[in-house]
Amino acid sequence: MGTEHPWLQWALDNAWLIPVLPLLGAALVGVFGSRLLRGASHWPAILGVAGAVLLSILLYQGVGELAHEDYDRTQVVYEWFPTGAADDLQTDTHDESWFTVSFRLDPLTAIMLLTVTVVSLLVVIYSRDYMRHHNHPERGYERFFAFMALFVFSMTSLVLAGNFLLLYLGWELVGLCSYLLIGFYYQRPSAAAAAKKAFLVNRIGDFGFGIGVLLIYLTFHTLDYQVVFAATTAAMSGATDQLQQVLGLADTASATRVMLLIQDRVAIIALLLFCGAIGKSAQLPLYVWLPDAMEGPSPVSALIHAATMVTAGVYMVARCGALFVADYRVMIVVAVVGGVTALFAATIALAQYDLKRILAYSTISQLGYMFLGLGAYAADSAIFHLYTHAFFKALLFLAAGSVMHAMGGIIDVRRFGGLRKILPVTFITFVIGSLALAGFPLLSGFWSKDEIIHAALQQQPVLGYMALLTAVLTAFYTFRMVFLAFFGQEKIPAGVHAHESGGWMLWSLILLSVGAAFAGYAGVTSFTGHGFVGLFEPHGKFHEFLHPVFTPFTAALAEMQFLPGGPGSHGGEAAHDYTLMYVSAGLAILGIVVAYLCYVAAPTLPRAVRDAWPRAYRILNQKYYVDEIYDAAVIRPLRGLGDFCFGMDNYFVDGLIWVVTAVPQFLGHLLRSMQRGAMQAYGLGMVTGLIIIVVLVLTRG
């Protein structure tokens, strides 16, 4: 590794501190929180995460100075446990191999770390006031901050991981933390149920993910990213000598065998990994946990939606690009799942009234965009969208939390309105976030979303048009929410003393809204700082920086352009460049204007629409009855099976046991009457026995 700057070098060498600092914070709060720190429990968490932010910035700078060859290197922190060489080990050159705790330091990691830690820091700072009421810490204050810091630890280790084992570890830790935090108000049955649901639905996806990781090990006999990716690339291009060198194989014959094996399995592996991504990143059909996850405190939602959890799936697919691009059908699956989820979730969001739930569906929809981008070979755009989305979605959730705080826990947009005057800062920041989400021109969401739509139109025109439709819907439902909550007649639920939130909350809102507004410019300014370069080609600094990581995507795309009739040959390049920008800007504004017409100018219109198509409204409001379908198709049969097993256990097995135990019990019952508790009776018995023995001995002897 080579950079001249000592500080940057130090950050590169000590990347392990990034997850460890929040962990330390979590441990401190966990150990001393309830006795010593109490109301000051936020400090260790904030300091821990702030340390991680500083190191991430240094790391980002350091990575920027590295040579591109260094990106592929895996930094081993320590050797964890030996693999215990398998019998059919094809790699016979190394005597003993180890599962290691290793990091991969490249632009993707750096960007993810920066996004995750910065957003998390602001969320944690915000929580300091959010988790207090009238300046008294809420019950479980220290527990909350311990889990938040633990969440950051989990996500940073997931992102830093240099092999699939560590990735899986972070993956599961993130799931655990989400469970703990969604169920933060565990006294509430709905919160406990939501936490359980999140955990179980995630487990379904993780099951596939786990099998995928195992299959990787069985195929490659290593879990190291570098080796796996290099081997896949070599195997797919048929370069046996390269494969032999990467995997350290003995001869060409075994290299050919392994190559065939990899070619055979790579699509399955990618699909299994994608299963995990579907669960974690809440895509169809495993998205159901995310809307329910709103039961946790608002900062938790912000953390889950923006930084630490749902982005894991997108990150993983981008990271494993080499595996995913190996089979173009897998990429189509990714794109279709993403595109359909985006539209599907956006339509549900149209008919919801719970502020946070609308945001949850918008997250699902935006994640759909990211997967669409990945599936359309625009991984850099997907990560770009992830990065801008982190800012504005965290902002929106925190602002919604601020509204909720002011409204005394009420979040139904029908029960309040016209909050513009009462909560001015919240209002302004919320509007900035909404504009960014809606893709309003020149705000961050606009740049990233357009790139994805552009890529989708080139790869899969149908999905591209669906994405455009989704963009209109997004703008509409976002501003429906804004207009309902902040415009119109001032309306406050009875008995609520509405007040603007405390300073810690407002400052993090303001900082995040700056991010939401301007984060997108990282993707449009040229690398050398020459200002606006253009929307799509060439990409800005952000893409330039990420480019070396995503060579699998670009290489696959370049290869496909030459295939006649291949999936890449649709659509003309020239038709799109700036037109699309105007089109999508127009669509975003159209959505906002329609929302204005419906909810401010002519408030009777929505009711009329609803009455005109009552069935459509009901289906949307009930979220396509997906929860009910799952209930009928999965939960009921499982419960039936459970009841059957319980009955078997209760009546048959327990019956057998009853019979077996009844025999000694009956014998005991017979003998029990002899035990009277009268000491002297025992004495008499002893003497009688003694006399009998003496008589026997005397007569026999």
Binding site: Q675, R676, G677, A678, M679, Q680, G683, V687
Partner: protein, 97 residues
């Protein structure tokens, strides 16, 4: 020699009868002590018969043990008395099956 053994047997027999028939906890306890001493007399007698010191030393040990055991047993009796306010053995039948 026989006389010694007769004294020992008498002591043991008296103790046994007392143990089985009396109801007062302290008397019951004293009866067990009586049985004890019957055994001790026999030890000494046999020690004399075999003309060695084993019987006598064993008797000394037994006395010491009897003293320790007596203190323990009396302490228990005191506790039991505090609980129920009576010394009747019949009261303590909690172990009845």
């Amino acid at each position: 020699m026989t006389h010694y053994l007769i004294v020992g047997a008498l002591l043991f027999g008296l103790g046994l009868v007392g143990f089985l028939s009396r109801r007062n906890l302290i008397i019951v306890f004293l009866s067990t002590e009586l049985m004890f001493q019957g055994a001790v007399v026999n030890f000494v007698a046999f020690g004399r018969l075999h003309e060695n010191l084993q019987g006598q030393s064993f008797a000394l040990f037994l006395l010491a043990i009897a003293a320790v055991e007596a203190s323990l047993a009396l302490a228990l009796v005191v506790l039991l008395f505090r609980r129920k306010g009576t010394l009747d053995v019949e009261v303590w039948r909690a172990m009845q099956g």
